[in-house]
Amino acid sequence: MKAPDATLLKVEGLTKDFGGLRAVDRCSFEVPRGSIFGLIGPNGSGKTTVFNLVTGFLEPTEGRVFFNGHDITGLRPHQIARYGIARTFQLVRTFNRITVMENLLLGVHHQPGENLLWGVLRTPHVHRQERRAIDRARELLAIVGLEHAANEYCGNLSYAEQKMVELTRALMSDPQLVMLDEPTSGINPTLVNRILDYIRHLREEQGKTFLVVEHDMRVIMNLCDRIAVLDYGQKIAEGTPAEICANAAVIDAYLGTCAS
């Protein structure tokens, strides 16, 4: 048994072509275990494509992705998720015609009741596991302040609340790496701070690792330990928030300034 790697996620020379267009170009970076890693760049710079390549929703043209030392390149999304990678989507993708609780329960991996036969027979071990999952969902809902909405249809919630449900759903499987695609877009500033606090809490208390795509420079500078900057699919810089702020190429690409 070898000691766990200091690197949790390693992306090597990742490349994706759409027809003639190169969306991601030889992109490499490493996400250290227990860190919050930011991925920034202007619109269309390939951030979400990197997300989809890592999580198996797209197949890379070239390059490799390693998670915990395993080569996960080209695996299907559900296989990658089972390795312990959970993700959210840029535009919130909750299941809207079922309840918040059902949304969360869907997040649990390897449920015996999800087998057709056991599900129909409803054996005691199905019940026990279901009970545990419900208790955990309640716990998580309490943390994000959505306890009251457990039995509400997800479609009746506000956008911000749905975003919270999506994040909580991703946490139900107790993943090692949580990938968040613009976790604060379309949410008011007070709630943004709550989400950021929650992410930090999960990192400090549970040692979770985060890979975050974000548009809002203030958020990313505040939250992340390390940041990679993409422009036209290429990584143009990587470093701590302070280093990124001082980098002329970044300011050039982003046309923005860093908030201190």
Binding site: H78, F95, M101, L106, G113, E114, G119, R169
Partner: protein, 293 residues
Amino acid sequence: MELALIVHLLVVFTIYGILAISLNLVVGATGLFNLGHAAFYGIGAYTSALLVKAGVPWLLAVLTSMATASCVAFIIGIPTLRLVGDYLAVVTMGLGEITRAVFKNWISLTRGPMGLPGIPHASVLGIEFDTAEKFLILGVVCLVIVFVVAERVLYSPFGRVLKGIREDEAAVQALGKNTYRYKMGVLILGSAMAGLAGSLFAHYITFIDPSSFVMWLTFFLFLIIVLGGLGNNLGAVVVTVVFVALREGLRFVGLPLWLNPAALQQLIFGILLIIATIFVPRGLIPERKVVYE
């Protein structure tokens, strides 16, 4: 109305009820656009009829016909369930045409358009279901079993995944679930139930021909489950009762001779389905909410 007619309608209702519930699992709960339900029904009917005519006991024939329908569903599912939903839709629609072509053209086996007459009545452990009244008992037992199984499926963690797939398949995959297997599971289960209904039909009417398993039947079932509330089994059953009665009732309305009653029914039901889909998308009885305490 005479009693015999009522009993007959009730038997028809149990068969259509099974069909509606099983289609509801596939279409209403999972969101798979399956247009081949009548084909699976027909496969079940022909398999069962041919086996019993060859001397196989009914109980064994039913199980075989369910398995045959499932096998066809499995083969159809392999290429289509990995792709966007439209592929399943057209391939199942084509399946309807193909099975009909087989029933019609494989004359040495099916006697083609002349149909299969003289199918023996169903019998279980020596009990013959040879009258409509007796058959009604068998039909009700089967309907109840199918209903209970469907309910248990819908409200199990398995059913939860199905509803997740209906809402957003990619998001379910991101949660570590092999959606392909769930879709395959429900398609196979739904088709097996359709096969059961087919067997019941064959041994109740005792005569089958290709015209009983047309696409129109699938369409009729769609109307039932859309109106009954997609994902709601009770709604499907209730609306089935109404429609079986309505369809029968339409026969007694005096129509001018030039008006083709089948076409008129198709026209009315078609318009009704468009209106229902646009204006009452959740049906008359919406899907039941699952509440956890």
